[in-house]
Symmetry: C2
Subunit: 346 residues, 2 copies
Amino acid sequence: ASIVVLPGDGIGPEVASAGVAVLRQVAERFGHEFTFAEHAIGGDAIDRFGDPLPVQTREALLAADAILLGAVGGPKWSDPNATVRPEQGLLAMRKLLGVFANVRPLKLHPRTAALSPLKPERTKGVDLVFIRELTGGIYFGAKTRSETDATDECRYTVEEIERVVRHAFELARTRKKKVTSVDKANVLETSRLWRSVATRVAADYPDVELEHQLVDSMAMHLLTRPADYDVIVTENMFGDILTDEASVLAGSLGLSPSASIGGPGAGVYEPIHGSAPDIAGQSLANPLGTILSAAMLLRHSLGLPDEAAVVEAAVDHVLEHGNLTRDLGGNATTHAVTRAVLDACN
Amino acid sequence: ASIVVLPGDGIGPEVASAGVAVLRQVAERFGHEFTFAEHAIGGDAIDRFGDPLPVQTREALLAADAILLGAVGGPKWSDPNATVRPEQGLLAMRKLLGVFANVRPLKLHPRTAALSPLKPERTKGVDLVFIRELTGGIYFGAKTRSETDATDECRYTVEEIERVVRHAFELARTRKKKVTSVDKANVLETSRLWRSVATRVAADYPDVELEHQLVDSMAMHLLTRPADYDVIVTENMFGDILTDEASVLAGSLGLSPSASIGGPGAGVYEPIHGSAPDIAGQSLANPLGTILSAAMLLRHSLGLPDEAAVVEAAVDHVLEHGNLTRDLGGNATTHAVTRAVLDACN
Ligand SMILES: CC(C)[C@H](C(=O)O)[C@@H](O)C(=O)O
Ligand SMILES: CC(C)[C@H](C(=O)O)[C@@H](O)C(=O)O
């Protein structure tokens, strides 16, 4: 399998190489052949090629079997008047690959749950997955700007809604058989369409329960009763906000993986944390989010569930017994934690 | 002063009459003349007049000095195919009155902080105010719906942004002198306009610090470091989500007031909780959110800050020493809590 690696900015290169190290070891242990090719994205790509998603990267992405991404962005490229921004590389990649489903599992590990801002009785039993629509909505709608005003259009087609909602139902079938669809159907036309499509799709999954939630209520329920949810599916912008809110529950952003999948080609796997330029290059970054993303890559893009499970078990082992990085209250380096996972993989 | 009372649905009438009782007592004690006129809104208005904001209500709103609202909505009127919905009454009222600034203070009382899902060390010292833009954005933009797709347009003019941002800076001047402006300027054109206007307005307030936050980061920071914020200003949809998320921090929705102000006429004051039809008519509702909204009414629409302070002190006293409603861990009725506030007002 050919894996494209996009190290990106800040701590991106450090965590990406941790992910690659784990994938290499898996290949060796299980007798697979993985090839790795690094390409530029984000601020790094702007600096080197003047483009946050250069043509060489695009071509490599389209030919890849799977993509492992570090992180993108940083204050260096955040001038509000800049005409080209690192995030554009991410958005262009999502569109190019047609990865319409952004999947973010949220599970609390006993040792890190203590770091959550929520009281332990609230987070007990949390085990949910967000599916955020990733290639439609207001992110990609028509935009205008004049001296006196600006507009952004949110548009959804039935097809865009249906495919991501189906994805949620398929996943729910393998889990607790409950889908929560989040919208703002009391105000938005796109949300009313969303709700009607979700309701129609649900008829094909009589074994799965469908519940509708308004986005504002959902923002509350994520804090008051997060353990009540299984699969949560929502549109792009709501998903952006709610997944970040939910990620805080885990105690550290450094632990959470994500997958962007559903397109005709490769999926993109990346930790949910940002590029954290303040700690870049110091081996302080937590590699576990990226390593768990690599596990998702094995499962979803390479069809290697056993290999994925080995990696996940290794991370669990390290979380339980190992010295962790600073964000998790330890003082281990990125390298040391990666080393511990590699050892636990054997 | 002439006060229009909109009891609305569910527990709305119960909490509204608690607010009226407190306002009557303030009038008596301080020698003011307040007149109260009840009008229909929401589901109640649909049932009685087939319109969530009937013409009699509209006329009364336009002539009022201030408006006290209970709550609107309920499952009875939530059929997704309904052509008329209770919430339309709220939206139409906001537009009619031009109340562009929705103000939601968030403060934790020691006794109720224990009910917060957040750990006490996180909520310590929280004292912030949200200013949500209330009459623009995607709520009021052009909408389309066809067989195959739907659209909602988010539009903001410079003027709409400037007036609400100025409101935030004026308020910050009377507080901790910090404004946090929330947007999604890395993706949306309306957000880039928002950010540029906020930056320009800030130049008129050299004594106030302006910070920009992306909405997804803000959703995290509200949980990880809520005490760092003073005045938070944002557009309509982001404000809807973030204010509801933030409201959970207080431990009970039943305590939090809101004011919708800035229009040429009267302001609207209402608790942030919903109509809670499951407990309606049983004297179980917490009246304190509405009573604190009445205090905001005294301060902002009637220019009676001393009277407002008396009401707030009375609520503080009851929170400290009184038997509270069920949502706050007590077993007092709506009536009993209202009675206790009235006693403490004397
Ligand atoms: C960088 C930004 C465009 C992006 C988004 O909003 O999609 C990020 O916040 C994310 O969630 O991946
Ligand atoms: C009922 C609904 C239209 C309303 C809104 O979203 O504005 C409510 O959620 C609120 O926040 O007041």
